[in-house]
Subunit: 201 residues, 2 copies
DNA sequence: CCATCATGTTTCCACTGTAAACATAGTGAG
DNA sequence: CTCACTATGTTTACAGTGGAAACATGATGG
């Protein structure tokens, strides 16, 4: 139960702390390094070796913590979803909930994609590992907020369709911006999101 | 002008025809092979070598026709956009234009993504090569249809915002389906698209 | 007929993910 | 305390990748 806990500490891979064999919680360190690398521009091809070098460990050491590279990327993706959820929750609160709050979560979604393009892309451009059913996957916060928001804004209509509509809108906007199909322009984003999410500015 | 013409002939790489040195228009053959491979499931990592083998030529031969792998992928992506545009145009006509036609183009967009996931992803998940300004890029048909449709459905509102809204909606829907965030369900897609695109069933 | 050039082949290299064998460092039982 | 055990990390090795360089060949135009 409590053994498979993720949720990275951004504490720079605590040099000497709790469960520390040789390195001191490598798993967290390598994820942290991966996030940093994704944050900078040199995203594409974050190689397994480069990542290991960042952390000061030899490449194959990572295989003690992840079965393969895909698993490592999955972990990074999960952390991305968690951060997205946190930003949305924050936006919702700051706007005081309701219609305005819902719109704010939508804008936060797109802004996150713009601010962390590599992380966002990694988080979503990845075949879902077919949920077992339980086990939080980091995207939960975002999804619950979505449902709640939809419930408030479209109380009468089909929640399923409306929720999917809202999600697809912001996700498409984010993707089109990431792939340079449309230029980043926050005012424009706000207007477009407003068309569906309603609410005042 | 007429020298850089793409637009692949699907004629199985015409064995003996016009400009045929050793192979007989390899460029077209390799693109065709790439599309086939994308069409089947074995999409991920369509390797340069495997592609060359498909076509019966040795790997480095491809470099006579494409500066590097990226360029090859760009060509495939362009063909994908062309096909998408064609399907949308067809859907528009069959529905008789107008609101219903516009909605049909939206549904066609998502259906294309579902039917050709690898090709769709490749076509869009690729940094735009910063248009020179002229030079059709295959996505033109789709974009023009979008503007025209928006003009008919939202004559009063801001065309820019409405067009972006419509595009983002279908694109997001497509992406979420591709990445298994939501299940493919044509009826649901039609309903969601209808929320924005309006029009009868 | 031959020089040229477009096309294709061979060979090679740096780099990648990862398997296998080995090394080491903490831990718990006797 | 000691010693086997296990979790962690290192070295080495290998197949596969995209791509450069040198060489081969076949069409073509003077």
């Amino acid at each position: 139960m409590a053994s498979k806990d993720n949720s990275v500490n951004i504490k720079e891979a605590l040099p000497k702390s709790a469960r520390s064999y040789h390195h001191g919680d490598l798993r967290a360190a390598v994820i942290s390094a991966g996030l940093k690398r994704l944050g900078e521009g040199d995203a594409r091809e974050l190689g397994l070796r480069a990542l290991a070098r960042d952390v000061g460990v030899s490449a194959t050491a990572l295989y003690r913590h992840f079965p393969d590279k895909e698993a490592l990327l999955d972990a990074l993706a999960e952390e991305g979803l968690r951060r997205l959820g946190a930003l949305q929750a924050q936006a919702w609160l700051k706007a005081g909930g309701g219609r305005a709050g819902f719109k704010a979560t939508g804008i936060a979604y797109v802004r996150f994609a713009h601010d962390e393009p590599a992380l966002f892309r990694l988080s979503f451009t990845r075949q879902m590992p077919e949920r077992k059913g339980e086990e939080g996957d980091g995207g939960e916060v975002a999804y619950n907020l979505l449902r709640a928001g939809v419930g408030e804004v479209f109380p009468a209509e089909s929640v399923d369709a409306a929720a999917l509509h809202a999600w697809a809108l912001v996700h498409g906007l984010a993707m089109l911006i990431l792939d340079r199909r449309v230029a980043w322009d926050e005012a424009m984003v706000a207007r477009v999101v407003g068309l569906t999410f309603g609410g005042v500015d």
